[in-house]
């Protein structure tokens, strides 16, 4: 089993708001982001549309990587075909040129093949995904089922903890928790009730 340090571990204290309603969740995430709080990440069981905007995430640059991989595929196919059909053993079939339009299908297929595999590879790499990795960012066992979680760093945020708690509860959170990281993989979660003194 492989594990690695992730976003959650880098922050000493993290507050979690756990939601059941996706629309209320989206609203609250937007409000908290506008307020200037430092949202570490959100965890949702399905892609909530518009949340990347609400959180202030930028569009991923993965397509650029995919394009580069596609070009590599194109060049690989071009060199294989040029080497085999032109350089090493020119094969004349039906008096047709040794290099021609008939190279197109393989050029296309190899470009697509390299793009797809390259894209999947950089996606896994960028998202730190690996077979068998322990999902250490799992706040709630139901975050892949029907719960939506927002994780906010509280130690250096522009918003006070009590303000955050109020915003989360007013926004419709069913549960608010605070996590203190003592060390890597060693943490305590404390449940916060509405109006409790923190």
């Amino acid at each position: 089993m492989i594990d690695s340090k992730l976003y959650l571990d880098r922050n000493k204290t993290v507050m979690f708001g756990i939601f059941e309603n996706p629309d209320k969740f989206l609203d609250t995430v937007g409000k908290i982001h506008k307020k200037g709080a430092n949202i570490i990440d959100c965890y949702t069981p399905f892609p909530v549309h518009g949340i990347e905007k609400a959180m202030g995430l930028k569009r991923s640059l993965l397509p650029v990587g995919a394009f580069i991989f596609g070009c590599c595929g194109f060049l690989t196919a071009a060199s294989i075909q040029w080497y085999m059909m032109r350089y090493d053993w020119p094969m004349i079939i039906g008096g047709k040129p040794t290099i021609g339009i008939s190279f197109m299908p393989v050029l296309f297929e190899m470009s697509v093949l390299f793009t797809a595999f390259g894209l999947a590879f950089i996606f896994f790499f960028r998202s730190k995904m690996l077979h068998g990795k322990i999902p250490s960012e799992r706040v709630d066992m139901r975050q892949t089922d029907d719960r939506l979680v927002i994780a906010i760093a509280t130690d250096n945020a522009a918003v006070s903890k009590s303000e955050l708690t109020d915003m989360l509860f007013d926004g419709g959170a069913v549960e608010v928790k605070e996590r203190t990281n003592h060390d890597y993989e060693d943490f305590t979660d404390v449940e916060i009730k509405r109006g409790s003194n923190i």
Binding site: P47, V106, V112, P135, R142, Q143, D145
Partner: protein, 450 residues
């Protein structure tokens, strides 16, 4: 935020909550297999056994066990190859092209259709591999490795080689697309797992997925790019398969309309098979709320459209042969319709052009048992199409001394039935161990939000 039309029926019925979706779709994975599953799986495994036996005999005795002869050098093998590749076209069409067109009804059916794509391409690959006879020698010819008996390379001007690249790219890209789509759902199963084995395996394949929005953000981009490149890919595959025929000088094959005609036929047969499986699966697995009559109706419309396109191609071929003035072409088509294989030609015409026209009537598109019957008709018709193209064109040579008849041997029939065994064995395993419906996508289109 979702703003749905109040007139349009919802894509998922039964007022499901997010949790209902998870529980209902994970049910077959978490419970013991049902009797229906056991019976179905055993039957499929028996046919899979027939495949193993017939392929072993083919290799041990040789390709002479098949009914091929000097004139009809492609028979059931390439017929079945094109048949299975065609079936493999619906999955990527649904998940890639319908994604680009933002057709949300694809979400309940894309997972199983993609699985079918992968299994169908596996079945298809068996035929070109084994029709080489001694495939371990043939591999040198198929892959870009120097010829075992000299310093020649493979011929990149040949559509047969393009086909090797097209089919293998299509298979591996579809597999990547399918697996990426599965990861969030595997994580859901992992987080509900109670047994140690399930915890380990679903954890292994979920790759540490937690549903992080940063990852979802990239994931959506990856899906879009993969859909973008899979769209021309899916069209290229059957185009190249058609070029295996179209670039030859055989009357009846030497036709420029083959690429679009084959692609339309592939989508037609793919949807035929998706309907066959899903009409049964939604009933047996109790997924009527996810795969609704609306979904079946939409697929029937695609079947009707592509069936008509294929029919138009049949008629165009006849017209072009007549108009060309080439007597070999003219003979090839008259011989198809009135020659010794007339029954195959008219089965094809009836099943592919005439039968799907019943889908003009709403009753036909919304009655599951009727759709099931029609989907079988479509499958049969599309098999006959390939048989007609291959066998009727080959059994008549330019010289009458080369005129022969072709009929399959028990071995060829065994291999064909055996591929159904492989296909259904894989499908039953898929239905038992993986979520048949894409939970995370279906959750995003639920209606009963506040």
């Amino acid at each position: 935020m979702i703003h749905d039309s109040i007139i349009r029926t919802p894509l998922v019925t039964g007022d499901k909550t997010l949790h209902d979706v998870t529980t209902e779709i994970c049910r077959p994975i978490e419970n013991k297999p049902t009797t229906e599953w056991k019976v179905g799986f055993t039957l499929s495994a028996i046919f899979f056994g027939i495949l193993a036996l017939t392929l072993t005999l083919t290799m041990v005795i040789g390709i002479g066990t098949w009914g091929l002869n000097k004139t009809v050098q492609w028979g059931w093998d390439i017929t079945n190859f094109v048949f299975w590749v065609g079936i493999g076209h619906a999955g990527t069409l649904i998940s890639a092209i319908l994604l680009l067109f933002r057709q949300k009804w694809r979400m309940s059916i894309n997972r199983s259709a993609e699985a079918m794509t992968i299994f169908a391409v596996m079945c298809a690959a068996i035929f070109p591999l084994f029709h080489q006879g001694r495939l371990w020698v043939g591999m040198y010819w198929v892959l870009p490795l120097p010829n075992a008996f000299g310093s020649l390379w493979v011929n990149f001007h040949s559509p047969l080689l393009w086909d090797v690249f097209a089919i293998s790219t299509y298979f591996s890209v579809s597999l990547v697309f399918w697996y990426l789509g599965l990861i969030p759902d595997i994580a859901t199963v992992r987080d509900r797992a109670k047994t140690a084995g399930r915890k380990f395996w679903y954890n292994f394949f979920s790759m540490g997925w937690t549903g992080s929005v940063r990852t979802w953000n990239r994931y959506e981009v990856v899906s879009l790019v993969l859909a973008g490149i899979s769209t021309p890919l899916v069209l290229s595959v059957h185009t190249i398969v058609s070029m295996d025929f179209a670039t030859s000088v055989v009357p009846g094959w030497h036709t420029t309309i083959f690429p679009p005609y084959f692609v339309a036929g592939a989508i037609f047969s793919g949807f035929g098979m998706v309907l066959t499986l899903l009409v049964i699966a939604r009933k047996v697995m109790n997924y009527q709320d996810y795969i609704t009559i609306g979904h079946l109706e939409a697929m029937c419309k695609v079947v009707m459209l592509t069936g008509t396109m294929v029919g138009l191609a049949y008629i165009t071929e006849f017209f072009v042969a007549a108009y060309s003035g080439v007597e070999y072409e003219q003979y090839a088509f008259i011989n198809r319709a009135t020659g010794p294989y007339w029954w195959a030609y008219w089965s094809m015409m009836t099943c592919n052009l005439i039968a799907p026209q019943v889908f003009w009537f709403k009753w036909a598109r919304t009655t599951p048992w009727f759709i099931f019957m029609l989907s079988i008709v479509v499958n049969v018709g599309m098999w006959f199409e390939r048989f007609v193209i291959i066998v009727t064109s080959l059994h008549r040579e330019y010289l009458p001394s080369g005129w022969v008849m072709y009929s399959p041997t028990i071995m060829e029939i065994g291999i064909f039935l055996g591929t159904f065994g492989l296909f259904f064995t894989c499908f039953f395993l898929f239905a038992k161990f993986l979520p048949v419906i894409n939970m995370s996508e279906v959750k995003s289109i639920l209606k009963n939000r506040e």
